[in-house]
């Protein structure tokens, strides 16, 4: 962090979670699309590869097969053309011709049999000899007819031989022609298809692929449906290949399940077909594997991406909330907060600060804080920059404070507002100072209290010094002068009175102090109101010449009160009643039961209190501000103390008064426990 970013109404730098999610989603989509495309491409590529490979294989195989077939056919043709064979055939010396058949088979051991047929198709000679077939009419056979039609060599379809060895064979046949061109017979040799199957096995194909060979009639030489019974079925590929076309693609093949992928090629010039194929599923297996892998990776990416998106969004939202939360806290703080950067410029202020300085929305962000926080000391002198609280906090990397009793802040409308300031440096994670924060507190109330205290102190000191003056003064006179008897008595009387007065004031002040410190302990007992009231009144009686009386029922229950406090309450109220009423007017104390409490009312016919007075009378130094009251000495603490004493014992105090006519101060305290059973609901 290189400092405090300026944040304000216009410079919101929060990250939009939607943007982040959108980016991540796009990335995932792209990845998946790419993988899919890649897979598709791979599949296509693989197909192309397979086809190319298959076609090449098919072509090669067909060429090899063709060569093989040609070789066999040529041999048979050659033998059919041999003069010795011709001569024997012409002579009808089939037995002698049979020697050549044996020869043929010696040259080509692959031939399973060889035979001679007369021009009508009767088998006249055979090697190996087979009596069962000798002489039989084979004129309808494909190889015989084919040879006759070809006028030379002919490759037959696949058929099942009747003679030995009974095998599935193809036949190579060729006419034996006389010098005149007359057909003398047909020479034929058979090759078990097994011999040709080797071509299908010559090239090892991957993925369980096979080479299939079909004869010109579409009979398969290979595969589960090999043999003259079956044809290629509906395989388009085979049909096309038999028709002389080469090509490839998806195909079906007889006897092979499912869709195959491969290529076909014709075996020229025999009209045969070679098909190189593999199951489609096997063909795409590498792609499938790749796809699976890609898909797996893609899925992982997707999951990770989505998770990341969710986490990021949540994180951003949480940061936003925190930011909002922090911002909300700052806005809510009732004291002014100023945040400054390390160069002394304002980075942020909260609404309370705006209110304190009466900025009314004026933008101060970026301006020196010294311009915003113009401070004056206790004497009203402006505080210089180096002495500024916030500057000191930043400079010294320590908390600095200015008292609410001394500082004043200049507001925008020119007033000097009493403030207290606490400033602290703002440190980053390495401990370097990146700025400072000042909390500015309106100290007007404190100042008021200060002034109140000063005036109270002067009041109290006046109250203390007056009796003290008299005590000291009169004592000095008594000591230094030779006073007359009358004067001496007067002097002593004054000393006495003043001592009492001083004593009471000190007691009052101490009570107040204890009340405020919460150190007065209530020790309640059952107090007989009538008895105590009489005693207290009696103590006043000796000094006053007026009527003081107690009114109370005999059945008045005792109250649950601290006896000393009760005495003090009564004393205060009676003393006030006497002080604030003219001499000779009566003062009465009336006590009566009121439900669960006992009410005591002290009534006088004195100067009374106005409504305004009544409101303040029980407050500290809440003396009525009237000449008749000021004339009488008093601290203003008496009723405050009395109120506290009453309330501490669980009671209440109030006054009814008429200015000029008199006052009745009443208080109530709870009835003592054992008497509560008598309470009738």
């Amino acid at each position: 962090m290189n400092g405090i970013p300026a944040t304000g109404a216009g410079t919101d730098q929060r990250m939009n979670p939607r943007t982040g999610s959108a980016v991540i989603a796009a990335a995932i989509a792209l990845g998946v699309a790419g993988a899919t495309w890649q897979a598709h491409e791979s599949r296509q590529g693989l197909r192309a590869q397979v086809l190319e490979h298959s076609l090449a294989t098919a072509t090669l195989t067909s060429a090899v097969l063709s060569a093989d077939l040609e070789g066999h056919l040529k041999l048979v043709e050659a033998y059919a053309d041999r003069p010795s064979v011709v001569a024997r055939a012409e002579a009808g010396d089939w037995a002698a011709a049979a020697v050549h058949l044996a020869e043929l088979r010696e040259i080509e051991p692959g031939f399973g049999s060889s035979a001679l047929f007369d021009p009508d198709g009767h088998l006249v000679a055979r090697d190996p000899a087979d009596e069962a077939v000798l002489g039989r009419d084979f004129s309808s056979r494909d190889y015989f007819r084919g040879a006759l039609a070809a006028q030379h060599g002919y490759l037959s379809e696949v058929f099942r031989q009747q003679g030995v060895p009974r095998a599935t064979v193809v036949a190579f046949a060729s006419v034996v022609r006389g010098p005149s061109g007359a057909v003398l017979g047909v020479l034929q040799a058979t090759l078990p298809v097994e011999q040709l199957r080797k071509h299908a096995r010559a090239i090892r194909l991957p993925n369980g692929g096979t080479v299939q060979i079909f004869d010109g009639a579409g009979h398969a030489l290979t595969g589960p449906e090999a043999g003259p019974e079956n044809t290629f079925g509906s395989s388009t590929a085979v049909a096309r290949a038999l028709a002389g076309h080469a090509g490839g693609g998806e195909m079906t093949l007889p006897g092979l399940p499912g869709l195959r992928l491969g290529a076909y090629a014709p075996v020229d010039p025999y009209g045969w077909a070679v098909v190189v194929e593999q199951p489609v599923s096997a063909a795409y297996r590498p792609v499938a594997a790749l796809t699976l892998r890609l898909g797996g990776i893609g899925a992982i990416v997707l999951v990770v991406g989505v998770t990341a998106a969710i986490v990021t969004t949540r994180l951003v939202r949480r940061l936003e909330r925190q930011h909002s939360y922090s911002a909300a806290i700052l806005e809510a703080i009732a004291d002014g907060v100023v945040i400054a950067d390390v160069k002394g410029r304002v980075a942020h202020i909260n609404p309370a600060m705006d209110r304190l300085t009466r900025l009314e929305g004026e933008n101060v962000v970026g301006y020196p804080f010294l311009d915003l926080l113009v401070l004056y000391d206790a004497r009203g002198e402006p505080i210089p920059p180096e002495g500024h609280i916030l500057a000191k906090a930043i400079e010294n990397r320590a908390v600095a404070a200015g008292s609410g009793h001394e500082l004043a802040l200049l507001t925008r409308d020119g007033r000097r507002l009493p403030v207290g300031i606490t400033a602290a440096p703002v440190l980053d994670e390495n401990g370097a100072v990146v700025g400072g924060v000042a909390v500015v507190r309106d100290a007007s109330y404190e100042r008021e209290v200060d002034q109140l205290k000063s005036s109270l102190i002067s009041t109290v000191s006046h109250e203390l010094r007056t009796p003290l003056t008299m005590i000291q003064g009169f004592s000095q006179l008594l000591v230094d002068r030779d006073l007359s008897e009358a004067n001496s008595r007067e002097a002593l009387r004054q000393i006495n009175t003043s001592s009492d007065r001083l004593s009471r004031l000190i007691d009052d002040l101490l009570s107040v102090s204890r009340i405020e410190a919460g150190r007065l302990a209530v020790r309640p007992e059952a107090v007989d109101v009538r008895e105590v009231a009489r005693e207290v009144l009696a103590s006043f009686q000796t000094r006053e010449g007026r009527e003081l009386r107690v009114e109370a029922d005999d059945e008045l229950p005792a109250v649950h009160a601290d006896p000393d406090m009760f005495v003090q309450i009564l004393t205060n109220l009676i003393s006030n009643a006497i002080k604030y009423s003219p001499a000779g007017t009566p003062v009465s104390v009336a006590a009566r039961r009121n439900g669960p409490t006992v009410e005591v009312a002290v009534e006088d016919r004195g100067i009374g209190l106005s409504e305004k007075d009544v409101a303040r009378i029980f407050d500290k130094f809440g003396r009525a501000d009237r000449p008749e009251v000021r004339k009488v000495s008093g601290t203003g603490l008496g009723l405050y103390i009395t109120r506290n004493l009453v309330e501490m014992q669980g009671g209440q105090i109030w006054v009814r008064s008429e200015p000029g006519l008199g006052s009745t101060f009443s208080f109530c305290l709870p009835v003592a426990v054992q008497d509560r059973q008598e309470v009738a609901p």
């Binding site: 000191s461 008299m470 003064g473 000095q476 006179l477 230094d480 002068r481 000449p627």
Partner: protein, 124 residues
């Protein structure tokens, strides 16, 4: 000579009387500001001891009133107070007081002060 003591506390008045009363000096007592002005105008004392904190008009008011009245402007006024703040002193000076006395005061000191002022005025 006459001296007026204006103080709402009867004890103070009594103390001043006992301290200062003599064949040469008559003591007049006023219990509040209004009474003080009345007595001052009626009897023209040479010196007024004026308590600052009094009910009704304050001592400063009385001082100003007397000083602005040609008939009584010549009377020496000494303020009496328990408050010793600068503000009071300044106000006293502004009001035209000739002196300031803080309570508690010793009667001896009071006597000396009074003699001093009266001597300056010249004995009749």
């Amino acid at each position: 000579m006459k001296l007026l003591i204006a103080d709402d506390e009867d004890g103070i008045r009594s103390l001043v009387r006992m301290t200062l009363e003599s064949d040469r000096l008559e003591i007049l007592e006023a219990a509040d500001g209004n009474e003080a002005v009345e007595l001052a105008r009626a009897h023209h004392p040479q010196l007024i001891l004026l308590d600052v904190m009094m009910p009704g008009i304050s001592g400063f008011e009385v001082c100003r009133t007397l000083k602005s009245d040609r008939a009584t402007a010549g009377i020496a006024v000494v303020m009496l107070t328990a408050r010793a703040q600068d503000a009071d002193r300044e106000e006293g000076e502004e009001a035209g007081a000739d002196g300031y006395f803080t309570k508690p005061f010793s009667p001896v000191a009071l006597m000396r002060k009074v003699d001093e002022i009266l001597a300056r005025r010249g004995a009749p």
